[in-house]
Amino acid sequence: MYSYDTFDQTLVEQRAAEFRAQVARRLSGDLTEEHFRPLRLLNGLYLQLHAYMLRVAIPYGTLSSRQLHMLADIATKYDRGYGHFTTRQNIQYNWIKLEESPDILDDLAAVEMHAIQTSGNVIRNVTADHFAGVIPNEADDPRITCEIIRQWSTLHPEFSFLPRKFKIAVTGAAEDRAAIRFHDIGIRIRRDTAGVLVNDIYVGGGMGRTPFVGPLVRESLPESELLSYLEAVLRVYNRYGRRDNIYKARIKILVDALGVDEFSRQIELEFAQTRVEGLDLPQEEVQRIRAFFAEPPYETSLPSELAKHHEVSTPAFHDWLRASVLPHKAPGYAIVTISLKPIGGIPGDASTQQMHAIASLAERLSLDEIRVTHEQNLVLPHVRQIDLHEVWKALVAEGLATPNVGLVSDIISCPGLDYCSLANARSIPIAQRISERFAELKQQHDIGPLKIKISGCINGCGHHHAGHIGILGVDRKGEEFYQIMLGGSGDETASIGELLGPGFSSDTVVDAVANVVKTYLDLRHPGEIFLYAVRRLGLVPFKERLYARS
């Protein structure tokens, strides 16, 4: 993984020092809250319902053991002993004191981390496929492109006061695990027919109150021209994106208003200029960054034990293997996903002890590396297959072996009204109750792959538009109500869920979800997963059963 040189290190240290001075000016009254707010947001510090929240950047979801140990220590030292992994591969701490926030940034800087641009109207922390570099059949490790983007976008002098936030995601695989078409810019790296690496660029996707699946705006962009192309997109957006209405300020609205052809024409005009202005990295610098993502020293001639594990294992170990373990590109290795979705738990939360345990496990048995997924789970990306049983036992001991990855109880949820000042309704208790309803594993296996995603307000941090079943919390005359939508997906077949009908109260929404799942079980073809059944059947049979007068 990438490692800071003195330039990177000096920059994050100076950033932390700058923030310390800004906090001091705020506390002394030299800075008004109006002027301080955007400055603290640029360092990931929000003011929530009960306290400040600090969102720490985990660039493209990659962590070393040392970094995860530090995140665990921060949870104890400055928070209440836990952290919350988010849908953008970051971690949030929910009980932060303003006066202590500069100390946290210093602690982060000590392990090559920061909270730069995890909030505010800027280019946010860039996200990637969480299986980057380890999944078979990838055109390129997307983290190389991500690190190039991270440096280019960090404290960019021109693009730090954009009309609205700006999110970029990158994948190097044909399967999309990064939801690239729900981002302001989604980048797919692939090889063209000559075997050369090129980028397909999608612009103007997004969730929130006006969801769009991002259209393809530039096909086969030469990899070497990515930064000058991004500059062109950001400049057109910075100059012409709407600033009069916060709800119409994202780039998706500009793309939609101009139409893809006209938007694309304007970008190409600007790109014709930026590409000759020396903005792209010299090849030596690309190679320097690329070298950090070279394959780790995998052992060769390891036995391939996956099949054997499946044969001889106990039922509990077998269930976990089935849910959590995927083949790795290196023979004899496996990719292990750690569920942060215990039945009845808070999706994405991990305690200090759990974080330390995972960090130690990664140090010992996953070549010192951990990934964060946008589905709020963690990944041990390089586990030898002969070590899988040991890894499983260690996870069981920490309550981290729930065998539900990809199943109905592996729910994405935003923090909702339990924490967030924007929320209209609580999300976490709904997620907890749905997972309890479907607790029985046999039933979950019968239902098969099903992604439920819950947001507590229209901003959609819980990705409800992209859920096979999406749940949106709304406020109806002071009472929490939940709308249900079906058929959304964030994968390579990206689609936006369709609203089923009138919402449900907090008391009835879990029954409603169970009703939808029952309809699917009754009407599916053999082997047909929930998403494809919804696409085949449409909403009508689900509506008929759900809203039938009983």
Partner: protein, 161 residues
């Protein structure tokens, strides 16, 4: 309403002429884009609003001595784009001054985008502005001027090794 150069030192103010008044050529004067285009007066500078288009004045920009760009609010980042365009694309070599509602914490970004001076209101935190301008040793992006970016510094270091 003092004016500061890019080190934060006090410098001469420019007169912002209304569209009607007669010009006084004894002091540096900037005029609106509308007046600039309609009157073709010699030796005046230009005051641009955040939404200004540069193509209509492109032919004149290289020869101007003074350009001001107004911030309507500090949250509106369009002046940063105008700064970079004026410097890197339109060849403007004169003094580029920020006007309006920018804040001290934007000083370094402004300088890196090619601004060389600031007009500030009374009570503006000049100390914070000076600190901001000089706070970061380096930047990933190529700044306006002769300083190298981090990318350039890495290249130079690589060449020495």
């Amino acid at each position: 309403m003092p004016a500061l150069d890019q080190t934060g030192a006090v410098t001469a103010q420019w007169h912002v002429a209304s569209d009607e008044e007669d010009l006084d050529h004894l002091r540096s004067t900037i005029v609106t884009l509308a007046r600039f285009l309609s009157k073709s007066e010699p030796d005046v500078g230009l005051l641009l609003s955040p939404d200004a288009e540069l193509d209509p004045v492109a032919a004149h920009l290289g020869g101007l001595k003074h350009i001001g760009v107004t911030f309507s609010t500090f949250k509106d980042g369009r002046p940063f784009s105008l700064g970079r365009l004026l410097r890197s694309r339109y060849g403007f070599r004169g003094d580029l001054r920020a006007y309006g509602a920018f804040i001290p914490d934007q000083g370094a970004f402004l300088v890196r985008c090619g601004f060389t001076s600031f007009e500030v209101a009374d009570g503006f935190d000049v100390v914070a502005l000076r600190k901001n301008i000089n706070h970061f040793s380096n930047a990933y992006q190529q700044p306006h001027g002769t300083a190298a970016s981090i990318v350039g510094l890495r290249q130079a270091r690589g060449a020495r090794l």
